[in-house]
């Protein structure tokens, strides 16, 4: 009779399909366009090991209450649409597995520091406006399209790319702004998302718009209002470190970086 190695048998037992479990999903419901009432609706949904919060929410929408308001699109942490507060912490619903939350009750609420559109969907106007303000594009006089020589490239060394590459991973999900304590207090603060993007373009050696951007962020509700709580970096699903970007930007303004 064949014997199974103890370690192998342990691995086999772990790879078997888990029996279906269920969790209680508490969804914060509100519709500011109708009234100021806020309430939590509870739904019991079946889950597997791989079920994400977004999967559970879509399950609710499909089978229990189709009126739950959520914004989502790609389901793979690329579009940044499904940001929400999950058990009190900002996160992407599509990137948060229920099994990793170690809780029988999952509370989902709209992100803080944004006006609610309905239920879990929030208004991104403030973030998008601040993002536009820092001019998130390469600024320079000449172009990659040249009338005489045709198309050319602005080449960069790997070292120069390294200076800003992590900040290009921003998907504008807004979780950093939601976690930021200054955003909660100061309604005109530019926010970690826009500041990190300002750094991304200033650190890009193809860009010549450093002074323009520094002028935008160097005002009374700009970069200096950051208290370096670091919560923006903790919640970023793409591994961007806006808190570090802000400190590096301050180096430019204090004259200790070129």
């Amino acid at each position: 009779m064949a014997t199974i190695h103890p370690k192998l048998s342990e691995e086999l037992s772990q790879t078997t399909v888990s029996p279906t479990q269920s969790v209680k999903l508490k969804i914060k419901r509100s519709n500011p366009n109708v009234n100021s009432d806020e309430k939590f609706d509870d739904f019991v949904v079946p889950i597997e090991k791989w079920t994400t919060v977004l999967d559970a929410l879509l399950d609710v929408k499909s089978h229990l209450d189709h009126s739950v308001g959520i914004r989502y699109s790609c389901r793979q942490a690329s579009c940044g649409s499904c940001g929400m507060k999950i058990n009190g912490k900002p996160g992407l619903a599509c990137f948060t597995k229920i099994s990793e939350l170690n809780s029988d009750t999952i509370t989902v609420e709209p992100m803080d520091n944004y006006p609610v559109v309905r239920d879990l969907a929030v208004n991104f106007d403030r973030m998008i406006n601040n993002h536009k303000k820092v001019m998130p594009y390469v600024i320079r006089e000449d172009s990659e399209i040249d009338a005489e020589s045709g198309v050319r490239e602005f080449l960069q060394s790997p070292e120069n790319v390294e200076k800003y590459i992590q900040f290009s991973s921003c998907i504008k999900c807004g979780l950093c702004n939601s976690a930021c304590p200054t955003m909660a207090m100061d309604k005109t603060f530019v926010g970690p998302q826009a500041l990190a993007q300002a750094y991304r373009y200033i650190a890009d050696d193809r860009d010549k718009g450093k002074n323009k951007r520094l002028k935008v962020i160097d005002e009374s509700h700009g970069i200096w209002r950051c208290h370096f709580a670091g919560s923006c970096s903790q919640v970023c699903p793409k591994g961007v470190d806006p808190a570090m970007g802000i400190q590096l930007l301050r180096g430019y303004l204090l004259g200790i970086r070129d």
Binding site: T182, M185, D186, D218, S220, W224, R225, L254
Partner: protein, 117 residues
């Protein structure tokens, strides 16, 4: 209302903090030349003020702490509320408070140094 760019103000803020820290260390070390309770006796305090070097140190400390403190207060107040009128009032109020405190403190230092107390 911005007279200076925020980065200039914050450079002053950090500079005054470092300066005040240094002068406070000097101030505390000078207290250690005698017992603590002796250093607080009226005659000794007046004698300190009457020394021109010490009076200059106190004046500098007063200026540095006032500038740093009132800018810190301005920053806190700007975070608590926003709006052009409010911000103008906060800036003017903090500047006025800073000038008033420096003027009153300087008056005390100068008068005591000149033996008018």
């Amino acid at each position: 209302m911005m007279i200076l760019r925020e980065s200039i103000i914050m450079k002053i803020h950090y500079g005054t903090a470092i300066g005040a820290l240094f002068l406070t260390v000097v101030h505390i070390m000078m207290r250690m030349t005698q017992d603590f309770h002796e250093s607080l006796q009226y005659e000794n305090v007046i004698a300190n003020y009457e020394s021109i070097g010490y009076a200059i140190l106190l004046e500098l400390l007063l200026i540095l702490i006032s500038v740093h403190g009132f800018n810190g207060l301005r920053v806190i107040l700007l975070e608590m509320n926003q709006g052009p009128t409010y911000e103008k009032l906060v800036t003017i109020g903090c500047l006025a408070g800073m000038v008033a405190l420096i003027a009153y403190g300087s008056r005390t230092i100068i008068m005591t140094n000149m033996g008018m107390v």
